[in-house]
């Protein structure tokens, strides 16, 4: 579980996060949504420990990040998996080597054991035949799946995804969403996704945190988001006519 307590972050005069508090529970897929410039990426980087909040505290399973020693921080980070927006695969390595990389860095497994584990997770993301391809030879969807495989290979406790669907066609985007949700359930991990994609919100948002101008404007589940009267949220989530109609139908159906 990750608890965020009143975090603030500024860069020079720009006050990006203005006191956000929330909780991300274990075994659930949580989405952080909001317009561009709302502070989502800075928030995610604070959770990852890449940025240090100016005020406030982030607790990982009850332990405050700021109270950890350097070694403890390093160990905590080894338990984090991250799927970057652009996949961030190491382009000097094959797909298999990319997936094996966290094992090489953080375990004492033999090469055969590492290959076996990497092979297992690559199969889990439906990439049985791509082991020896270079990342540049893989499609966007394949690269995202490799990034997910790399993120989960060392059995993380926390999985972070920054816009995992960006640049993907709708069908592949749903495959990636479902894969993340299945992995979250299967490994009982705390998953946090930054997203603009309203399909993801409706499909896998067990918890949704809506950020606006560096503040938490709303939080709830995907069921709540249909019912909310919060105009700020409805303006953003139902900005397209299609989603407006879907919401109307849902509300009519529920009476």
């Amino acid at each position: 579980m990750i608890e965020v307590k009143n975090i603030h972050k500024s860069f020079g005069d720009a006050h990006i996060l203005k006191g956000i508090s929330t909780t991300f529970e274990k075994g659930k897929t949580s989405l952080v949504i909001g317009q561009s410039g709302s502070g989502k990426t800075v928030f995610l980087k604070c959770l990852l420990g890449l940025f240090t909040p100016d005020e406030g505290e982030i607790l990982y399973d009850g332990k405050a990040y700021s109270s950890l020693t350097d070694d403890e921080k390093r160990n905590l980070r080894a338990k984090m998996g991250m799927v970057f927006q652009g996949s961030a695969l190491f382009d000097s390595m094959t797909i298999l080597e990319n997936v094996m990389f966290p094992l090489q860095m953080f375990t004492k497994q033999s090469k055969a054991e590492m290959e076996e584990r990497a092979d297992f997770v690559l199969k889990r993301v439906n990439l049985e035949d791509a082991h020896h391809k270079m990342p540049s030879e893989a499609s966007g969807g394949m690269q995202k799946r490799v990034a997910i495989a790399r993120a989960i290979v060392n059995k993380p406790k926390y999985l972070f995804c920054d816009e995992p669907n960006s640049g993907l066609d709708p069908k592949t985007a749903i495959v990636i969403d479902n894969l993340i949700q299945e992995i979250t359930d299967e490994y009982n991990i705390t998953t946090i996704i930054n997203s603009h994609d309203m399909n993801s919100v409706m499909e896998i948002g067990e918890k949704i945190v809506f950020l606006r101008n560096g503040l938490k404007a709303w939080e709830g589940s995907k069921e709540n988001i249909f019912k909310t009267d919060n105009e700020v949220v409805t303006d953003f989530v139902y900005s397209s006519n299609l989603f407006k109609k879907v919401r109307q139908m849902y509300l009519e159906e529920k009476g």
């Binding site: 927006q85 382009d91 090489q104």
Partner: protein, 246 residues
Amino acid sequence: MSYLHNIGAYFLMIAEMFRKPTKWSVMRTLILKDIDDLIIGSLGIVAFISFFVGGVVTIQTALNIDNPLIPKYLIGFATRQSIILEFAPTFISIIMAGKVGSFITSSIGTMRVTEQIDALEVMGINALNYLVFPKFIALMLYPFVISIAMFLGILGGMAAVIFGGFGTLDDFITGIQMDFIPFHIIYAFIKTFVFAFVLATIPSFYGFYMKGGALEVGKASTTSFVWTSVAIILLNYILTQLLLAK
């Protein structure tokens, strides 16, 4: 102020580079890869330039000695001194600032742009140790490149003398053996080690801390070449004053 900030950040980067070392089994592979990219991959261009510039140095020396009272073996002597003291360590290092330096800046800069460095940091890996330290170790073999440059420069000079008809082989060999001071070789290699450190760290600094996209990678490579060259020229002056001046 930004110059002072960059100088401070550069020295902090160097300190950070030695902290939290990467596992040896991984580091060994990285070092071998960097030896291949930075040292072995540079031998061809260094050999080509050294041989022909050695020849040009010899021809120009020969053409400027028009007094019949000056012995011909001075051509070999002047060639040896020029190549060992300046051409091989300094001139080749400036060329390497272009070849190796821009390779380092653009490869690390591209990793920054494509979030690969963020990926390393998220995993709790010291990205500076992982990326820069192997380059620093690989470039400790740089004196090997400079030895080849010295040898081929003198060989080029010898070929120019013989095929250009500027003197005899015996005169040239007498010249390159005359008044040989072993400390000049030590001086050249001290410079080479210092330049190797500069070649590994300044381009890494500009790649690692760059911001922006593909265009900025190109700009960072150019800036890194300029500052690596400036550092080499300044350090060359300082080391020459310290080591050779009496």
